[in-house]
């Protein structure tokens, strides 16, 4: 008898609807209004690469050891260096990173011994051309500049 009443009066469907209507309360809104409010990114997020500089002297931290290029599964890092005769060390000249083929796996960041190459929290990496996605040293040090929208 109870089952018959449940069937006629659509009780099982109304129970489901009760769940849905309970979620109409504004405290359950989970939508983020994206360009206006930026999402919170974790510190370890593997986003856009960046070449770090020494905080005091402003020189690059990279010692051109080529370990990041060797660790990359896709072979998309090219490190150019030349030997400085006075200090007998290698100095970095060019550094090319191809973000169009990068899988953001983090192996280059793990391989760098001096924390020069770092994957930051930037995720807005779009560019208007394929060549624009290949970053040279200046782009890597500054970071991408996505368009900021004002309302």
């Amino acid at each position: 008898m109870r089952k018959l009443l449940r069937r006629i009066f659509l009780i099982d469907l109304i129970e489901g609807l009760a769940v849905t209507f309970r979620y109409q309360h504004p405290k359950y809104i989970t939508t983020e209004q994206y360009p206006a409010e930026r999402p919170k990114i974790a510190e370890r997020y593997r986003g856009a690469p960046r070449l770090n500089n020494h905080p005091e002297t402003g020189e690059t931290l990279c010692i051109a050891c080529n370990l990041c290029a060797l660790a990359c599964p896709e072979n998309l890092i090219v490190v150019g260096s030349e030997r400085n005769e006075q200090t007998r060390r290698k100095e970095l000249t060019t550094f090319t990173y191809d973000t169009s083929r990068c899988m953001f796996c983090g192996l280059c960041e793990d391989a760098c011994p001096v924390d020069a190459l770092e994957l930051t929290q930037d995720f807005e990496l779009a560019s208007y051309s394929r060549e624009g996605a290949i970053w040279d040293r200046q782009m890597l040090e500054e970071g991408p500049r996505p368009a900021r929208y004002k309302y």
């Binding site: 129970e15 489901g16 599964p73 899988m103 953001f104 796996c105």
Partner: protein, 370 residues
Amino acid sequence: MADSTFLDSTELVLNMGPQHPSTHGVLRVILKLDGEKVLGTECVIGYLHRGVEKIGENRTYQMFAPYVDRTDYVAAVSNGLGYCLAVEKLLNVEAPPRAQVVRVILTELNRIASHLVWLGTHCLDIGAITPLFYTFREREMIMNIYEKYCGARLTTHAFRIGGLQYELYDGFEQDCREFCDWFLPRVDEYEQLLTGNRILVARMTNVGVLNAADCKAYGVTGPMLRAAGVKWDLRKAQPYSGYEQYDFEIPTGVNGDTYDRYLVRMEEMRQSVRIIRQALDRIPDGPIMAKVPKVIKPPVGEVYVSIEAPKGELGYFIVSDGSTQPYRVRIRPPSFVNLQALDKMARGALVADVVAIIGTIDIVLGEVDR
């Protein structure tokens, strides 16, 4: 002879093409229909074939780990666990206890995430649109934990050969416990929305029945095998990564139809929360990485290691020839083998049931095609 007009029933060949909202990826199913009833199906796959096994022969062992995440992209952490366990077995090392417990926590979170995707998309195909939003909201919480731990939400590359790369962040335990406390009542909510619902019951019972003998003959594993009544789970039968220390149950079904698979997966989500809570209580201190050389060159040999991925038995068969690159990597995908049973299950069903059956096998085309 007989007057045959175009109204006579002849076979209609209908193409459920690679671009289709219900095929869970680029799966093409060619249906032979008699009106609305299915006489036979044929799956055409290979639209997402990227040659991952060939890539494996050209990368070193550590370099190949990010590629493995991209086969079953919905549950990437399990793939990484299987690969790392296989290479660790070749090297004859074992990850330290702390790494093993954290691996179990992340893998069970991954199982919940995979089943949430299954639940949302399967019910979306059947017509219940609302659970999709709720399940993805829960999945956001899991993705946030992964992001804070290893840096990526979906293709996590969380485990390394020999243990873990990253130490746990402050607040990991608290985040996981908050998730478990928030999540268990949600499962009850999904059940309230779906389990007793007469539309769902009518669309899922006696659809896609695969009994235990057929499951074993077709090599089907995972929740499909358990829904047919076989109480078998690789985490209990051949435990790996410390699973023998945890106390959990294996849910089974009776008939082997779609409704039983639905109930089995819902119960598996609850059991996963139970395992996570037990593991959180017993994270030991200690190192997170075993003594593994920088350049990994395993001795000549081959090994087959399989784990219980959310979709079935995921196996890795790695042949090493003593150099830094594997000689052959074979990924035994559960979705590929389970998809063979589609033909058996769909005969005699209606077209709308085919959509429900594809959803209940729980395939991910990245794994089917590799």
